[in-house]
Point group: C2
Amino acid sequence: MAITNGTTNGTHNVPSKRYQAVFSSENIPSSEFQQRIEKVRNGVKAAGLAGLISFGDCWRGANVCYFTEFRPLDGVSDIANAIFFLGADTEPMLFVSKQCVHYASEVTTFDVFSFDEMRSKLEAFSKERTGTLALAGEAYIPEDLHRRIKAAIGNLRLEPHPVLAEIKAVKSEHEIALIRKASYLTDQAMEAIKEALADGQPHTERELALLADQRMLAGGAERTAYDSMVQTGYRSAFNLARPTDRVVQPGDLVMTDIGARYRGYCADGGRGFIYKTEQADARKKEIVRAAADAVEAGLAHGKPGMTASELNGFMQQALVKSGYEQYSSEARGHGTGHGTGMDPEEEAPWIGPGNKTVLRENMVFTLKATITVPDVGGLRTERIVRVTSTGLEALDVYPMELYW
Amino acid sequence: MAITNGTTNGTHNVPSKRYQAVFSSENIPSSEFQQRIEKVRNGVKAAGLAGLISFGDCWRGANVCYFTEFRPLDGVSDIANAIFFLGADTEPMLFVSKQCVHYASEVTTFDVFSFDEMRSKLEAFSKERTGTLALAGEAYIPEDLHRRIKAAIGNLRLEPHPVLAEIKAVKSEHEIALIRKASYLTDQAMEAIKEALADGQPHTERELALLADQRMLAGGAERTAYDSMVQTGYRSAFNLARPTDRVVQPGDLVMTDIGARYRGYCADGGRGFIYKTEQADARKKEIVRAAADAVEAGLAHGKPGMTASELNGFMQQALVKSGYEQYSSEARGHGTGHGTGMDPEEEAPWIGPGNKTVLRENMVFTLKATITVPDVGGLRTERIVRVTSTGLEALDVYPMELYW
């Protein structure tokens, strides 16, 4: 591990020279960040765009972290935000809170400025150009920041565009290694839940979620990729919910949706458990089986060259055939998977009806099947997969059918 | 613990009746949520407003969680968002993702609707009214959601307004008990860092942060309130940064900024450690002392009836007197504290120059002093305090000067 003590020029707001960041060999190397910038620049040019404005925040950082090790901090102020800006014909710039400029400069291979400087930089760019700037992160960019960007870009248009999402959907070897590690840690956390359920003691949803989180951290996760969901009994029939103090009861279905984050990369996994299966209604085993069968159908049929819509079709049909159409949003055409990487959910590829995106080697995404039957229970079976040269490889290995 | 199995009407999107939520006695009781709604309604009326539109997301939930146990889930889609709407003369409504309606209905004492229904509900309200809707969460409401609200409210104006922030700045007994617990868990995590530094083994920033997080979870924290910051050596002179693989070196200053979340309530704490003080430059002890003195000045002088600006003055002057004005943003008038509660940072009260907010009993906020000297190091000493009937009570107890 190379440790270099950097120096500054003595001013405290903007360092004049970049620190040498302290990286482990597991981190994304700076050469890869540079390759990504070139790839995106080429994509921007090919699409006839004037440039890219890419928003990321502390929690949905992928649109910024694709270009730099920097990730904003938590907060209600501008420390949570970052804007990556790349003109088709200019060097990239990163805009962050004044309070984060030192840190960002240390870990970024190109120039970093504070938000205070964003207006003049964007005005200078827009004065001599026409056309459209692609916007990434349009679903969550704050209104305040969006307004300030619009005010600075003059006659340039700012429009949501998939150029970045499509490029970053294909992962590098480095990225896949990190997602694989995060998936391993998520499997370990599933095992922690199973161990607790098997110990014969009463456990609340909160306790089960906490045990999962602790197992992830014990394995070296930097945190959970998202707040863990563990729902038992009637609450397992809620599509998405936070854990409560409800104590798991014999015969309950247990829905889990958990994922670890490891050095910036995420996993996203779901399994359904039946607690004390011998006391469970037979329908509950059927629900677990039906969800597993749907994901199996995806794993069996997915391959490069196929469209996302075709892959979705195999899983959706399996769910419809199982008879749970009424109780499964995936069976009703809401999509059976999503991209995963630096955020637990990334925009591309969305595995859903009508999406003509062609699956390519090293795309990474989830395959999922949710079944929620009111008063009975439910689960989401969700796996994380990589497109190989011939099919799909699951990056997590935890079994999909769990009775004991 | 009362455990009630709810029932549904058999449809899977919107339950016709509310579930009985499973609460521990530590959670905020539903009667308190109802009191809060009345208090805010009265504030809205007193300010001559037509109503309140309050935005919260998964990570900055206070503006919504003040009214309901519901907190949105992590995600890049609308599952991360929630809108609380209260007309001056109408019952409150909560708008959430369709996928979260079951969960939100279970834990909310008033009606829950999906975002799909927001437009018609707001249109119906705005048709018969004039005036201004207060907006809470204006710094981070997504542009997309803001635009949809604007399109639905006709001639009503939508303007940022502090009515909610000012009311929720004063905490209840229940809230203070939970913040006290979160502060205790944060103290425990500080001790975990100290123990590691004292064990004589090499530790990276990442390891120290992980140990802090693990200690919080071991004590029952539901998660960290924000991603833990641990910066060593030259990196301790960065105002805000994420931990890296840098190994702490003898004589280093170690900046920490960490906080636990316990049942929805947050702590926020900072301490500076010197690793192997005997090998440290004498200036480093002076830095630690100066930050502690500034916070002590705030603790000694703060009391109800004083303005936030006056309290800030005591701390700011202490920092200026210590000679670190050039190296301390608090000394330069950027504020020496912020509200804390359901988010690690809440809007009110901001302890800063010019803020005429009068401190009132049971306001909870941090007192902080950051000193960052390039090439030497830095720290942030940050305590969490409650206004009592006569002064300030620190809710955390960990020492501010740590040499060994």
